[in-house]
Symmetry: D2
Subunit: 328 residues, 4 copies
């Protein structure tokens, strides 16, 4: 249940009153609302504190549901905004490797019309023997690229202990697919003070993805962007199966922005552009895509990163498609 109050004081009073009835309750201020959340179905009658509205949903997620908050929530990344009706493009290399690499990429992303720069400093790797990222040095290089271009930067956080460090540099924090149900991390991101790009786990359902967003929101942070990046299916021809149905569904279920990552499902740069366009056509509010000055020599994900020329082609086509569908 969600109980909406009209002031902070009443919200807090409400939380106390409900808890005094033996029901767990959380108080959060999100998207301009003073909200007390309790477990779905746990309706409390006869409250003394005035309540502006009570929201009773059939879904397990509540705060992030579009059933009570019909207007789409924009999320600010640096000085720009991901919002419904626009196409927001985040691009950059899989891993930050060298100053030259990240600076040259940032410039191309900027010139081609990208909105933000991505780059991995802490890399979740299946094998302990492969490159694990530059760590803080990578964050420093990302910040330089931001200084040089004005693009906001996004990067992945793996270890909850690194949150202060990552938050110091990044304009938005990525949660990787393998950490989508790392609830410790999600709870801490509730107090991060930075927007979160929440990738869908490749073994997770859409509802679990929305519930992961609910974790972040319930712990205080309403600036969550959902990122579809492909799931594991019996067909392993491409690296993952991009689930455009999840985008179409999520856009109707949540007021949060939904974007898509065409690089990981493609696994091969020949398929990135068609997948990117499919993501947008399915209704996504943007893309996060890998691009590299010399992909074949990349330290990770060499096969799937776009060349600069391919990235320019992608942005041009994405803008055309957006216009055709009445977006911009």
């Amino acid at each position: 249940m969600l109980y909406i109050a009209d002031t902070r004081e009443r919200g807090r009073a409400l939380r106390e009153e409900i808890e005094s009835r033996g029901i767990p309750a959380w108080y959060v201020e999100l998207w301009g609302n003073y909200i007390v959340a309790t477990p779905p179905g746990s309706k409390v009658e006869g409250l003394k504190t005035p309540v502006k509205a009570v929201v009773d949903l059939k879904t397990d997620y509540q705060l992030v549901s579009r059933q009570w908050k019909r207007d789409p929530t924009p999320v600010k990344i640096g000085d720009r905004e991901i919002k419904e009706g626009k196409i927001f493009i985040i691009a950059g290399p899989c891993s930050v490797e060298t100053e030259e690499q990240i600076l040259s990429t940032a410039k191309v992303v900027k010139e081609a019309g990208g909105d933000a720069l991505r780059g991995g400093a802490f890399k979740p790797r299946t094998s302990p023997y492969t490159f694990q990222g530059l760590g803080e040095r990578g964050l420093v290089l990302l910040a330089k690229a931001r200084d040089a271009t004005g693009l906001p930067i996004t990067t992945e956080l793996m270890d909850p202990e690194d949150l202060p460090l990552v938050a110091k540099y990044a304009d938005a924090i990525q949660v990787g697919a393998r950490n989508m149900q790392n609830f410790t991390l999600l709870k801490k991101l509730g107090r991060a003070g930075k927007p979160v790009l929440l990738k869908r786990g490749f073994g997770n359902t859409i509802d679990e993805w929305l519930l992961a967003a609910e974790y972040v929101a319930l712990h205080g942070n309403g600036d969550v962007v959902l990122v579809e990046r492909g799931i594991r299916t019996f067909d392993r021809t491409l690296r993952f199966t991009l689930d455009v149905g999840a985008i179409a569904y999520a856009k109707q279920q949540t007021h949060l922005p939904v974007i898509g990552d065409p690089s990981h499902p493609a696994g091969d740069r020949r398929y990135v552009i068609p997948l990117a366009l499919a993501i947008l056509a399915a209704g996504a509010d943007g893309l996060i895509v890998e691009v590299h000055p010399d992909p074949d020599k990349a330290w990770s994900d060499a096969k799937q990163q776009l060349t600069f020329d391919q990235f320019r082609e992608l942005v041009a086509k994405a803008r055309e498609l957006a216009r055709a569908l009445g977006r911009s």
Copy 2:
């Protein structure tokens, strides 16, 4: 291996010469070529019959591969053509139910700008207790709708014995997902004299789908259109997971047309339009979509069939998107 001859006589002689060496060989005339096909890897040296070209591929499928036939193959359905660069829209009800139902739908499909009419007369149903289709009566009604509108008609064949009957009425014959590896059926369709719309099985890989097309082609019929319609994955939020990656991949691997069915993966009409646009954006040459005068009362697939208004909206958006991507 494919051995291309420059005349029919030489093609046939080639087949005999190769078989005399103990290698199985098939002779087919497809897309203007005289072709002898042998199992992949079975190269024969020192042939006496003149050979125009020898094609040695690393894939299991050969005839349908785009590696040797770079130009896209158009497939004629009635007096119209599915071909790369255009968007071909097939629409109609899941099942043919009544004369009024199919005629009113056909008119709307025609007026809205659809290219062909679909309708099921023989229905593959999971349960033996549900409606199994009108049978020949359904075919007769489809033919009436063609007469009334000029639209070519497509319908599913289930029983190989019904091939003459279905071929008598239909302009193109659909193979359902559950029959994609019904090899008996595929072989007979090689001699059907009608184009085949080959749906991908929901448990089948992309390569198996291409090999199913190879079955039809090797038995004499090169007019095959591949139809992606969603696969089974752990996520059952929507009915199936539409695999747009399969479209992007298949378009590069085969010269045959590839279209998509947004209705079955959506399973709910609220998601059909975004999935349809994603199919086209991923590179498909068209759509096959379910539409019904009064979907909630449909005898099968009630939830996922579009209303007439939704269908008109879909066609308009599809045409806009096609133009934006340089297609028509």
Copy 3:
């Protein structure tokens, strides 16, 4: 709904009376019962013909449900029986290749304590270029092996047209995974007069498998054995994922025998014995397993067929395990 009558005459009268009310109804005599089946939920009140029992189930399958027929149904194959509490072992090569191959295998199967001989004469093959089976010649060789050993024989039917031919030779007819939803075939097997071994499709749910058995039963044949043989999942380390949960579940849902095929999910003979034991431990009533005199030279499925020695080891372990679990 199932309406059980106490005589054939009353059963037929019942079917007519129900149909006269506009409800589709089937009359079948199965497992000693005179049964009229109608679609689930379609209850008819006030019937004049006497009814012994009315069965109203919540599942889509009815005849094969264990909810109304609690005692397990034994299925006779030749002069032997698959029945709960016993372990029935069917073994033989993937494909019948030569007389010597099938005869030597049959002898080993017999001596090691197997109950029936399997061998493919019509082979469903993913590629049109690979060996498609010996056809009738394979059936003749199987019959010779039966004559030599007394073992009943089982073989796959692909083309409904071949039913009379296959039924002439085989003691039980296999439906392959790719044909589990070939409804034309299933209906014809309802009138085959031979028991059916119904493999689960690798993309099909357990309920769909039970409904496929319902198709056969509703069309007149109650001698159906369900065969779990692995499904397609994101993990392709082994060839398929053996679903022992499906065995445990099916054993509780249906009165029909359930057996398992460890060869296809293993895909490699090193894993066949552990999978076979897991099948039995999960509650299956038997096994169907591939064994070959010289597996590495087999014309199909070379990697997964057991050697004779491995097969003897499997039978010995299976019998030990059965005894430990109170079966025989």
Copy 4:
């Protein structure tokens, strides 16, 4: 590559020498060996430090491979051992709830012949609104149950920060399926000084699971037990699809113990015993299973926990089956 030295000094010298050649190298002492590990394929020639053996594997995992360490590795939990040839049974409630609940369960586990007690104090929950575990209070109760019965205890760790706390109480630390690729956690468990029960992620391949074990081993901890607990597949009839093939495969690929969890894939206590027996028949070295004094009232996983009587039945059957297969 693995380089085995015959003393600690030589091992350390080796690591330095290899690193001086610009190759990343780790030094670990595991299972009585002095090992330097480098990335697979990175062979160094002409080393001056004496090397006892060099291991060059084709797999991405190395330390945990059975190709170089053929003898099975036993893992000690408290004063007991999980080892090949024996059946180790860990049982207990999903969540620790009350002192009475955990004490009564521990006594039954002990009396029935179980080897260790499990119980969740920190619970990974899909929804932020559901019971998240008693935290340290749960650990204290587990320790009381150990005191009362002598059974070693195992419990899950979610937050790396809680490692000292959990290690203080637990005899073995569980990594949940959702954390299998939480590499931060895995690395820290390398220095935990306690054995690790590593559950397979429900979206992870077998090789990824072995690589997760490699993470723990490479960071210093060789006491890892692999736990198969079901994967996500298109069939959602049971809660997860138990992958017995993964057990059969892992037992051949790694020298570490492999056990199985029948409770989570079953999702319903009616299927737990058959799945448990299938796990053992496939070759697993033990079980981890949920049991509760009054399952229907459990605070989590109510449907799938066994009653005490069912647990006794399971242990009796498991022991019978083990004997039949020559284990104990």
